[in-house]
């Protein structure tokens, strides 16, 4: 076990072939079934997928928050070089909220409804550092200011129910930032917010990554949000990353038929009024994954070759895809 040294120069997080399964009465649900990606300091990676693709469970696995009957059954989560799979609960508690923080879709998952904002924030600082109460309170106030909350001194004295949805989400982000973490996992943080408020939150997140070099994993179903925010993107389907790469590569030159289908389903200006390119059928049951490629039954290119599991083909610059019949590069098709 390496100590989380300050001189560590590698990526903040390396997830390698992560497998998180849920052992239910009906059988093993392979929610995450071989996910790999890396995040460097200051980098934003978008983890994109539809319901049941395993994006949230991936986030929870990184936080060590997978509950029974779920278990990480394989792979590695290397945070600054230290493998966290199988780490003790003690170690996790030291890391969570300090070096690694999470922002949930619903800020009320983070906030305690019966405690004032300042109580909660000071508590989060004291859990990890020995500082006197006045310093902790000042830090809490600064954190609120950092995420664009007007009059932070007054907001410290409020209860969560006195704040609007957008404000609550900001407070949740401020709490995540308190101990200047190296990594933030944000799970659909703006999905419940209005467009103008969403833009404000994304703006704050963007500024913070640039300013403090925090690595950010942004989990979402919305490709358009990721296009404007992230540096890299990983597209998930049925528990696997099916395509990854830089934003421009994946969105302009998708290789995997699922990514192509997903991009085709997004309404956009240049095909107004035309039929959208829909993906037929629906996502497979994770209890009974078909053999081979999980996308085969919905894929226009699926054939007998797809009955065997395609391997992840890696290329330079973090580009990777998992398909026997990928689309041609440079959009030649």
């Amino acid at each position: 076990m390496t100590a989380a040294g300050t001189s560590y120069a590698g990526p903040t997080l390396e997830v390698e072939d992560l497998q998180t399964h849920f052992f239910t009465k009906a059988g093993a649900v392979k929610a995450v079934n071989g996910v790999s990606f890396t995040v460097a300091p200051g980098e934003v990676i978008g983890l994109v997928g539809e319901s049941g693709s395993g994006k949230t469970v991936t986030g929870l696995s990184i936080m060590g928050l997978v509950d029974e009957p779920g278990r990480i059954v394989g792979g590695a989560i290397r945070f600054k070089g230290e493998n966290l799979v199988g780490a003790s609960e003690d170690r996790w508690q030291k890391l969570r909220g300090d070096r690694i923080a999470m922002i949930f879709q619903d800020p009320m998952m983070t906030l305690n409804p019966v405690l004032r904002i300042d109580t909660q924030m000071v508590e989060a600082i004291h859990a990890h550092r020995q500082v006197d109460k006045a310093t902790a309170r000042a830090e809490a106030r600064d954190a609120l200011g950092l995420v664009g909350i007007p009059a932070p001194e007054e907001r410290l004295k409020t209860y969560p129910h006195q704040l609007s949805g957008g404000m609550r989400q900001r407070v949740a982000i401020a709490i995540a930032l308190l101990n200047k973490p190296d990594l933030i996992v944000a799970d659909e943080p703006t999905t419940a917010l209005d467009v103008t408020i969403q833009a404000q939150i994304i703006y704050e997140a963007q500024q913070l990554c640039r300013r403090f070099g925090t690595a950010l994993i942004w989990i979402t179903h919305d490709l358009a949000v990721v296009a404007g925010l992230a540096d890299h993107i990983a597209v998930m389907y049925a528990g696997r990353v099916v395509e990854a790469g830089t934003i421009d590569d994946v969105i302009d030159r998708p290789r995997h038929p699922y990514t192509v289908g997903l991009l085709g389903s997004v309404p956009s200006a240049n095909k107004r009024g035309q039929r959208l390119n829909q993906i037929p059928g629906m996502a497979p049951n994770l209890l009974r994954l078909p053999p081979g490629c999980a996308f085969k039954d919905r894929c226009p290119r699926g054939d007998d070759l797809c009955l065997t599991e395609p391997t992840l083909q890696s290329q330079p610059n973090g580009r990777a895809f998992r398909c026997h019949h990928p689309h041609e590069p440079e959009g030649a098709a």
Binding site: S164, Q200, Q206, L223, D248, S265, P267, Q278, M282
Partner: protein, 333 residues
């Protein structure tokens, strides 16, 4: 207004107030000097809206702008506090009982949550078949064939008609809701966030279905959504609301090319788009004010980058700004 055909449906200066009167104890407390008042929310504030036959109108706005309330008033679910709704040029209040029933059947609504809007204890054939039987569109002998036909139209397998709603996926449930609306041969559909709860690839399937049905049944739509890209894709004309008032209304393409109202401009600039990469988000400031205490004059003035003195004092009226274009802003006077 511009053409000879009268609007299929028209809201004339429609207002909806939700009032919470003080109860006896609160009235007593007020007598003793407590600072209590009746709470009145102006959900919709003197809105004019016209939808012409064959048109698809998109109604866009953020939380609390009154878009759903307007939709419900037009669908006849909620009575307006002031103003009137007219169908086919005739005010609902002036109609005979028989005409009213015909109008109520001709306007159907499709709801956001396909889990909450279907009776869980009814079979699909009952959900779809109940209304046409009661209203005499079909007799008991022909009912089964009629339900089959409608199910096929919306892309559901008639073999599944003995099932209950919980046995379907979200996308299929939304199709059941659409089938239920279509069963009474409506001319006008109010879709309130009808695809917001669905995954991207399923969204595309339902949007396509809406467009197919429009052609097949010659339908007119009011499409209520917070998602600009969806509305842009299917609407002929877009109406933008903010805090209970219409701020701008224009043909889709023209509106997206050159929005006139500062709120529309902000909304269009901040909506995430696939073709905007690694952009700097420059959000407009501030929260959406509470409709309980809306700002004076123009409701948008506290957040507006161009606000002048006049804006906080005088309410800007909706004025024509060219062909089929209306906007309510002092800058345009």
């Amino acid at each position: 207004m511009t053409s000879a055909t009268p609007p299929l449906i028209e809201a004339r200066a429609v207002t909806k107030r939700f009032e919470k009167r003080l109860d006896l104890a609160a009235k007593a407390a007020r007598l003793l000097g407590a600072d209590l008042e009746d709470e009145i929310v102006h959900a919709v504030d003197a809105v004019d809206l016209q939808v012409f036959p064959g048109e698809v109108v998109g109604l866009v706005g953020e939380s609390g702008c009154g878009k759903s309330t307007i939709g419900r008033m037009i669908a006849g679910i909620l009575p307006p506090s002031d103003g009137e709704i007219a169908f086919d040029g005739k005010a609902m209040t002036a109609m005979s009982g028989q005409e009213k029933r015909a109008a109520a059947l001709a306007v159907q609504m499709i709801f956001q949550d396909p889990f909450a809007s279907l009776n869980p204890r009814m079979r699909v054939e009952e959900i779809i078949g109940e209304a046409p039987l009661v209203h005499g569109y079909v007799d008991r002998a022909g009912l089964a064939a009629y339900v089959d036909e409608i199910m096929l139209k919306v892309g559901l397998d008639p073999a599944l008609k003995r099932r209950y709603p919980h046995q379907f996926s979200g996308g299929q449930r939304q199709r059941i809701g659409i089938a239920r609306a279509l069963a009474v041969k409506p001319r006008f559909l109010v879709c309130d966030e009808a695809i917001a709860a669905l995954d991207v690839s399923i969204q595309a399937q339902v949007i396509n279905l809406f467009m197919d049905l429009r052609e097949e049944f010659d339908l007119t739509y009011l499409f209520i959504s917070h998602d600009l890209s969806v509305v842009e894709h299917i609407s002929d004309r877009i109406v933008i609301m903010y805090l209970g008032r219409v701020v701008e209304s224009a043909p889709t393409e023209a509106l997206f090319a050159a929005p006139k109202h500062p709120y529309t401009q902000a909304l269009l600039a901040e909506a995430p788009r696939l073709d905007q990469r690694s952009r700097d988000f420059l959000p407009i400031k501030g929260e959406i004010p509470s409709p309980l205490h809306p700002p004076s004059g123009c409701h948008f003035h506290p957040r507006c980058p161009h606000a002048m003195e006049k804006c906080s004092a005088v309410r800007p009226m909706l004025r024509p700004q060219g062909d089929r274009w209306q906007a309510a802003c002092h800058l345009l006077d």
